[in-house]
Symmetry: C2
Subunit: 460 residues, 2 copies
């Protein structure tokens, strides 16, 4: 079907990735138009059933009698605990909430290989119980430490060795990045891209796609999963457009100042002690129905590492909006980042999208307390929208956690003086920052992946 | 005495700093040989007295009746609490210890300015109660948030505005860096270098020195304090010697792998609950006399922001050894870093020196459990020692915390296969990493400052 090029060229890595992003309709394997059919076929060939169950029907999970924390009898996987957060100021200076604690570092790895002179990426059609459509395109490897140390007695994780023992010089990107700071307590995953020259057998449920093909698929709703988007943000894109050194000192200084001006206290508390939340047989939720609820599901699946299991999930109460405003400054496209505090972040602040919220949660607030730029995004005319699609957050922990991802172009209707915590940056600067952990949150990385794959284009 | 150059040249910043490092004997102000006399004169002009006192004689500090935590009645400054650490493996897989918790971010800032075409740095002769000789050369600004928000009702911090509101384009370095992970719980300080073109009045206790002058003073014991050394590690030194992009992907990948392979749990516990430590009237210490003790001092001083105060300090039980092994690889000098776990680190692992320990703490261990390379450093002949001096750790929190800092050249007597967690890197790579927080621990930054200032030279 395709022959491997014997040795990747020594060209600039960014150039090789750009070449792959330019190949959009057909790689050396499937045509892009064939991928949805292939995914539907993979879906049909397995038996996937996800049912909501009461907490009492969870197998191996129970509420700790002392704290009320929800955990697995093995002590592994994750626990749902309580968190008490103080951020000092803003419309919500203090709050308590349930949170997922999962101290182990997982691996999200995409294997790359040249075919016919073009880099391809080995993507997996993978079921996750929380995805609206269950099966999405995922990284080659998406493994918790529990996965690959076999705590749940499953099968081997295919291709894992490429990431645990990469050949010298084969690593393209390798960085610990945060997961959702509103739902996870200090959770990091290892985001890796590794290029191989070896023969790679293509297992069932896997296919090689170019970056451009993945970009085209990112224009559809709910096809490319969050873990894949997070990793694809690390695709090298060359020097920042400004020609400045790879990490702009003024930008680093601004981030340092933002981290210094916030004093965040986040202390774990017993789940039973979380004020304003109540536990019923099927849910842990707030009386006002806002934010999210903790629920439980039973999963039956034929293609996963184990045949069936049950687990808790976090289910947001409404869909979110995740958007970068974009504009040209000095002829160069910029996006507007927001230095966000999230209770579960390791280090106070990470850069997030211009807008990242569930609009319904903010409906009761006075206009001055509504998230900045939310109304700009919600009222943007079609001519302003450079990208729009619905994507899911991590389907292994979050149920139906959908968000509308947008890139919205603005002209002169944005004030020259930005609110505190907002700054225009180039995508190239974000590409330099994402080589290091804990600068870009997972939503900002998702939006950045739209640019690294060519799903969206800011240059005219 | 000297005239300000009206406008710094637009030359490469690294080149301008290198030019300052080359000026070693006399800047536009004091001659290097005059600095010790000037410091002695500053010392003599103030009344500095530090006395050990029992905890009961502390003013404004008390032990919490519930937890035994030692804190200030205002709730500010810092507390001494307990910490329980699990690192999974090694000779000490679990332990408990007292630790300082100080969640606020301080500013360590050095102001730079060109005189006669050469960058000078505004250094302060500052008293800290824990320094062996009390007064050392310190950054222009060394302020906790309590300092500059006036919690202790002191005087204004001079020059602070240069760092809180730097002019556009004036920031040379600005990064949140860790403090001692063995004694502080997740403490970060903002390390800044800011260049000004303004007229700057030189206050009593301050003087302008070139980088080369500071380098010469770093060859003396206990002259340049830890905060100054930490900031000076951020001096730009240009691209890594290898000509590689500013942050080597293989090095970043190795650091990510080191962070992923360690699972560290560090939980705060009440000070009264710390096993193996006992509280007496004057000290909190271990029965076996190892590691450190918590003590209290009363300070009388005329030149500090307030006239007198009392406070707890941590006093190590013996002097430490802090050393990089160095060798040439492919003709380029390298130093041997160690990916260290310290209980108080924010993120599991930071890169530290080859050797960082108090040898006495390891005396009872079997030879296989002694710190790697400690004996190589302790037995190195004088011909191998490229640098050696005694420096103090932060004198505001640590009493007589002295360590012998060394750069020890090795040839073929180091094994080709290193123990896990060790790697040869170039100083240029460290210079790229130190632009970001939490890669280099404070001891590694101290050693790096010897190279950025020219105190030690690895090139022949």
């Amino acid at each position: 079907m395709a022959t491997a090029t014997p040795s990747p060229t020594a060209a600039d890595p960014a150039e090789r990735f750009a070449r792959s992003a330019a190949v959009t309709e057909a790689g050396s394997w499937l045509r892009t138009a064939e991928v949805p059919g292939w995914m539907a076929e993979r879906h049909a060939s397995h038996r996937f059933v996800v049912r909501r169950i009461p907490f009492a029907a969870l197998t191996g999970w129970s509420f700790d009698p002392g704290s009320g924390n929800l955990g697995h009898d093995s002590g592994r996987f994750f626990t749902v605990e309580g968190l008490q957060v103080s951020v000092g100021s803003g419309p919500f200076p203090h709050w308590q909430q349930p949170i997922i604690k999962q101290p182990e570092v997982g691996i999200l790895g995409i294997l790359a290989k040249e075919f016919d002179g073009v880099l391809h990426f080995l993507m997996q059609a993978k079921m996750e119980p929380g995805n609206r459509n269950l099966l999405q395109l995922s990284p080659t490897v998406q493994a918790t430490r529990s996965n690959y140390t076999k705590v749940h007695r499953g099968a081997d994780v295919p291709y894992l060795d490429h990431f645990l023992r990469p050949a010298p010089g084969s690593v393209v990107a390798d960085v610990l990045q945060s997961e959702h700071g509103s739902w996870f307590f200090r959770k990091s995953n290892r985001n890796m891209i590794v290029e191989t020259r070896d023969e790679v057998p293509v297992a069932e449920d896997f296919c090689w796609l170019t970056l451009g093909q993945i970009g085209r698929l990112l224009r559809r709703d709910n096809v490319v999963n969050m873990d894949a988007r997070s990793v694809l943000a690390s695709v090298p894109t060359g020097a920042p457009a400004s020609g400045a050194p790879c990490c702009d000192t003024d930008l680093l200084s601004w981030i340092t100042a933002e981290r210094s001006r916030h004093t965040v206290s986040a202390e774990r508390i017993p789940l039973d002690a979380v004020a304003g939340w109540r536990r019923g047989p099927h849910t842990i939720e707030r009386a006002d129905g806002r934010y999210f609820r903790v629920v439980a599901v039973a999963v039956e699946a034929g293609s996963r590492e184990v045949a069936g299991w049950s687990q808790p999930l976090i289910e947001p109460c409404a869909p979110g909006v995740t958007a970068f405003l974009t504009r040209r400054i000095g002829g160069i496209p910029h996006v507007l980042v927001h230095a966000r505090v999230e209770g579960g972040f390791l280090d106070t602040v990470e850069l997030g999208p211009t807008v990242q919220c569930v609009p319904g949660n903010h409906a009761p607030l006075p206009p001055g307390d509504r998230p900045p730029f939310l109304d700009t995004v919600l009222t943007a005319g079609p001519g302003r929208i450079r990208y729009e699609a619905v994507h899911s957050e991590e389907g292994g922990r979050f149920l139906n956690a959908e968000s509308r991802y947008l890139l919205v172009e603005v002209a002169d209707d944005v004030p020259e003086v930005l609110p505190p915590g907002y700054r225009w940056v180039t995508p190239g600067m974000l590409g330099a920052l994402v080589r290091h952990g804990h600068y870009l949150n997972v939503q900002a990385r998702s939006l950045l992946s739209l640019l690294t794959t060519g799903a969206a284009v800011l240059q005219d």
